[in-house]
């Protein structure tokens, strides 16, 4: 187990190194001169040179990469060009908001997805299963921004139950105004729920057709016992890694949902940093998202191997 763990963690470190290098390279070639942007129009050449020196833009790229990654490892992500604030400070609050939103969506979608999936799998081809199948197909077909806009239209414009945007006063967290969490979380839930549900259903169906379940049924065990003892443990195993995989996949959904609802999280920050060409902020946010993705992939592998002794040994 220890060897497996060290191998996987070292693989993650290599991945992160490559990812950070890629992010740095990509953002370094962004069009537009940063010094020019900081000073605005009408800057004199001397001023431009001074700002470049101050931002360290006169040093070669590899030196800037090393200093960036070195500082980042110590928790210093640099200063935002646009907001003139330490990036770690900007990100901290936004990250908290995103985590709250993601956790909320996860807690709603995972239990219900697993429950519905197992039910639909056991009642395969029944009337209820077909309704669930069609509904989930529609849910995975709708991009988050379409669902989000439809929810705003229904719950904010027509019914006036919930606010249409999730703007927060500075210094407050979504927990102070939980009603702003409902629509973004519901939007995130839709796709997630449908996806996990379909996978669970497929797994249950596969296990139901296996020889050991047939044996269990034929030897006269009560159906309840067959399902709890034979079907569920085997069917939920792959589901667990699918859930962990979705943790990373949800990051993409988070970027869109936060922008639909103007929710002050990491995804919104990513797009703001892109539109304002705030390179250090963009680098930091992209690195953070990529790192979260890598860690959740690791969690997926770990949970799977912890629960399945057959792979752990290899």
């Amino acid at each position: 187990m220890l060897r497996f763990l060290t191998r996987r963690i070292s693989l993650i470190l290599v991945t992160l190194l490559v990812v950070s290098l890629a992010i740095f390279l990509v953002t370094e070639v962004l069009p537009g001169d940063v010094a020019n942007m900081v000073l605005g129009q009408g800057a004199t050449p001397e001023n431009l040179a001074a700002v470049r020196k101050q931002l360290g833009l006169d040093t070669p790229a590899y030196a800037r990469y090393l200093s960036w990654i070195g500082h980042a490892l110590q928790g210093d992500l640099g200063t935002s060009y646009v907001q003139r604030l330490p990036i770690a400070h900007i990100i901290a609050g936004r990250l908290g908001n995103s985590i709250i939103l993601a956790a909320f969506a996860f807690l709603v979608s995972v239990p219900s997805a697993v429950a519905i999936g197992v039910w639909a799998g056991i009642k395969r081809d029944s009337w209820g299963d077909q309704v669930v199948s069609v509904a989930s197909l529609v849910a995975i077909s709708l991009p988050e921004f379409v669902t989000g806009v439809l929810f705003i239209l229904l719950f904010a414009s027509v019914l006036h139950w919930l606010p249409s945007s999730s703007i927060l006063l500075p210094g407050t967290t979504p927990l102070d105004r939980p009603q702003i969490l409902v629509l973004p979380a519901l939007t995130l839930t839709g796709v997630l729920l449908a996806y996990i549900m379909r996978m669970t259903r497929a797994n249950v169906i596969e296990v139901m057709q296996s020889n050991y379940v047939r044996t269990a049924i034929l030897k006269g065990l009560p159906m309840r016992r067959v399902i709890w003892r034979h079907v569920l443990p085997n069917a939920l195993l792959p589901t667990i890694s699918i859930i962990a995989m979705n943790l990373g996949w949800m990051l993409g959904g988070l970027i869109i949902v936060e922008n639909v609802f103007a929710f002050p999280g990491i995804g919104r920050l990513l797009l703001t940093s892109i539109t304002s060409r705030d390179v250090p902020l963009l680098q930091a946010v992209a690195l953070l998202i990529a790192a979260t993705y890598a860690v959740s992939n690791l969690l997926a592998d770990l949970s799977y191997s912890l629960l399945n002794p057959r792979i752990r040994l290899s």
Binding site: V26, L30, L137, V146, L153
Partner: protein, 307 residues
């Protein structure tokens, strides 16, 4: 027993490739035909066909030019003159939808196709070569996959600039490693079969074996993968449009239309509803077709068992 027949790959390369294309084409056609016998295919295929027609002839059939301003009819609700209403500049929404169909369908299908071709090439050759080469190639693919796809797409498009060509390229790059994985495992299961072994003993080249022996036998996997990829490509391309990194205005982009409609959602909901419905029905159509193809692949087997 060792076969001594002469390798056939020395014959004209062009005829070999043409043969593959015809064979694969016939197989894909058969799959789509079979899909029509499933519920999903019966609804999905006409929907997809409708949007394909729009992509081909949409701009010709549109009642107005997509960028024409009708300044006396700003934000007017659906009527007989403007069937789906107008937006804040008085542009006809139906015409914008019909004209925008071409770019979203062209971009997502070309992007998906690029991803499929690159991924299939990489996956098949990696599996066929095996050993260290396989290990190295798949590690590189894992590296590419360690970026969430939307983040990778955003970074690439910010750097290269958002235009149709770059979006297609981005979708291709994002999809390549995922397709490669699927095609690799499909190839591994075909590679061990007898006809591949005998082709190898006959002394055929790797190129011949990959394209004439392995590829035709992975077509079922490839069709399912292609239909799934197409729906992901539409989702990705329209999401990029929504975030402002799609086709740039004034050319109509469904995602951007939805993004801009949010400002007058209460006053003029039809501006949002029309493009939202278009994206939704297009992706639902593709997904139903994909589901139909997947189900249809089980049909011949079931019929054999029944007869």
């Amino acid at each position: 027993m060792i076969q001594t027949a002469a390798p056939t790959s020395n014959r004209n390369l062009g005829t070999a490739l043409a043969g593959v294309l015809v064979a694969s084409g016939r197989c894909i056609w058969r799959q789509v035909g079979l899909a029509l016998r499933t519920g999903g295919g019966r609804i999905g295929l006409p929907l997809v066909a409708l949007y394909l027609t729009l992509a081909l002839f949409g701009p010709l059939l549109a009642p107005y030019p997509a960028t024409e301003f009708h300044l006396t009819h700003q934000l007017s609700p659906p009527s007989w003159t403007f069937l789906l209403g107008t937006d804040e500049y008085g542009r006809d929404i139906l015409s914008r939808l019909m004209t925008g169909a071409r770019s979203i369908i062209l971009i997502s299908s070309l992007g998906a196709a690029l991803g499929i071709v690159l991924g299939a090439l990489v996956g098949m050759s990696s599996a066929y070569k095996g050993g260290k080469t396989d290990e190295v190639i798949m590690r590189v693919m894992d590296g590419l996959m360690s970026f969430p796809s939307l983040l990778l797409a955003l970074l690439v498009l910010t750097t290269l600039g958002a235009n149709a060509q770059n979006i297609i390229l981005t979708i291709g790059v994002v999809f390549m490693p995922r397709v490669a994985r699927v095609m690799r495992s499909a190839t591994l299961s075909v590679k061990a079969l007898e006809f591949v072994q005998s082709a190898r003993l006959r002394g055929e080249s790797s190129f011949y074996i990959i394209f004439r022996e392995i590829l035709p036998n992975t077509v079922p996997v490839l069709t399912v993968e292609a239909s799934v990829r197409l729906s992901f490509a539409i989702l990705l391309a329209s999401s990029l449009g929504f975030l402002g990194l799609g086709v740039q205005p004034p050319s109509p982009d469904w995602g951007l239309m939805i993004s801009e409609s949010r400002r007058f959602l209460t006053a003029a909901p039809w501006v949002a509803l029309a493009p939202a419905g278009a994206v939704a029905t297009l992706v639902i159509g593709v997904n139903l077709l994909a589901e139909g193809i997947r189900q249809a692949q089980r049909l011949p087997k079931m019929e054999e068992e029944l007869s």
